[in-house]
Amino acid sequence: MSGDDAAGVRALTLRLAEAEATIQALLSDQIDAVVDPRTSTPVLLSNAQAALRESEKGLRKSEEQYRQIVEATSDGIVKIDPAGQVVFANRRFAQMLGYQASELVGSSLFSLMGEVAEGALRRSTQTRSSVKDAVDLEFRHRTGREVAVSVAETLLLNEAGEDVGHLLVVRDVTERKKLQSQLMVSDRMASVGTLASGVAHEINNPLAAIIANLDYISEQRGRLLAADPAVRDFDSLLAEIAEPLEDSAEAARRIRLIVRDLKVFARSPEEEPRGPISVVKVLDSAVRMAWNELRHRARLVKDYQPVPAVDVNEARLVQVFLNLLVNSAQALPEGSAEQNEVCISTRVAGDRVVVEVRDTGGGIHPSILGRIFDPFFTTKAVGVGTGLGLAICQRLVTDMGGELSVRSELGSGSTFRIALPVASRLSSRAPSAPQQLLAVTRRAKVLVIDDEQLMLNAVQRILANEHDVVVTLAARDALAMCARGQTFDLILCDLMMPDMTGMDLYLELVRIAPVLAEHMVFLTGGAFTPKARDFLAATLVEHIEKPFEAGNLRAFVQRYLRTQKGSS
């Protein structure tokens, strides 16, 4: 064999070994591609193709997953570069601001907010801490309105630790803000209510004395005029007194009405009878009461759709409707009844009965729309409105399990909407039997207990002509009298007193002199405590609400003595 031959054989052996290794590699799937020598084109083998496809598919799939997460989240997600330009925005973020996501990419994020918000966001992005508090700020919607958001921002760093931008998770907090402000309103309502009922209670006692005394003075004046000829000489003088006296009485009556309204805030809705009543009937009765206010100002349009009965207190519902009707009327100018309209409608919406009172007045300015249900908020002249009407309406409707809301547009009028729950049960309480009114009197022995000297004086003046009146400031003294064997036909007793309350006295009397306990009637002013309410409900002891007028107290005592006589 020549040297050439040997080299040729070695080369051939090498080629064969290579070919064999290639075949082995092919068989064990270790080859990705072959080159087609005729076309010089590489051809990927199927396993490599499949693998590439898989990896591409995997990449697409994981991209898809991230995309779904980013797009499905209820938060806005934005990526900005270090200069603040939007690199990416998800659909939710774009939606919040009224844009398409593609419109936002490339624009400056700071151009979508006011200066204050920009400052807050810049401060946050300049902090390099990894844990940052969310920032509350406002973006500007395409339409110009502000969108309240909470922004959680994270600094994005590349592998080299360089700032490559920021990722922002943006949450729309408009709803939360709205709820917060509603909560603040109801908080304010609650505190005003507590304050008001406290004030009402404190005012009630002196007021009761004023009213009773004014009544007494008027009566006495009348008697003097009728009886004593000498007094008639002072007729003109007395006439002069009469007017301020009547004015005082009128003013006192107005205070009484305001105090009564205030007490609504402290009242528990459970203490009033409710029953299935017809909304239409109540509406019509409110319309009759408001007719004088309405007829000069607007045409009344009724749009009654048949509705089921609602389960509420009738008197309270009348109060609500009346208030809304009078408000509507007062929103309209007097004397152009033909041009204006007050429309009342009823309809069913889901499981609610909806009543709407709509007027074609000037509407309510948006800046005060949020405050119209606040106690003491009024746009009327001093002395015309107390600012309690709508606050009371809202409280009453809420107590009924319903909702009172308002829509208003400047220039085209306001609509008040009351949604009430449909009655689900029959009336729980029968109406009370009409009370007898008889004027036959016998002289009786009356004990009056009240920790307010003014009150004692007034009651004594009112009753002293017809009855023997004994008064005391302390329940303990009254108890001592009874314990000594004194008897009374009637014991008028304040319910809430320091030291010994009317309730304590009653319980003691039940023990030592049960007959006297039966003769007790409570004088109640202001709000009841829950304990007092339960007590009255459990014992069925009668009570008279302060303030009362002289005539009413006398009539009550006469009626009481008659029924007592009849029953014993």
Binding site: Q24, D32, A33, V34
Partner: protein
């Protein structure tokens, strides 16, 4: 993608791959592990993508990837496959 352009390199290698196909990726990683372990910095490893440079492959007589060519020291040697058998790879690279 030359590695360690050491002038005193005694081992010069060229690895043909097909993109980031799985056997190719394995071959790159296996070659680097063996070379780093046994030749420290005294080697050059050029990686050539067949999909980009098919003609270079043909010029080198390479018709499949991955293929590792030992250009120096002579004689030229070729190893085909994913180079997962480190022992065999070392034998070829160190042979004279």
């Amino acid at each position: 993608m030359a590695k360690n352009g050491d002038q005193k390199a005694q081992l010069v290698l060229r690895l043909y791959v097909a993109g980031n196909a799985p056997n190719s990726m394995r071959a790159i990683s296996n070659a680097q592990i063996v070379c780093d372990a046994h030749f420290a910095s005294h080697y050059d490893l050029e990686i050539v993508d067949l999909l980009e440079h098919p003609q270079r492959a043909l010029n080198d007589g390479v018709i499949v990837t991955p293929t590792l060519i030992r250009l120096l020291p002579l004689p030229v040697q070729k190893v085909v496959g994913s180079l997962s058998d480190a022992e065999r790879l070392l034998l070829v690279l160190a042979s004279s």
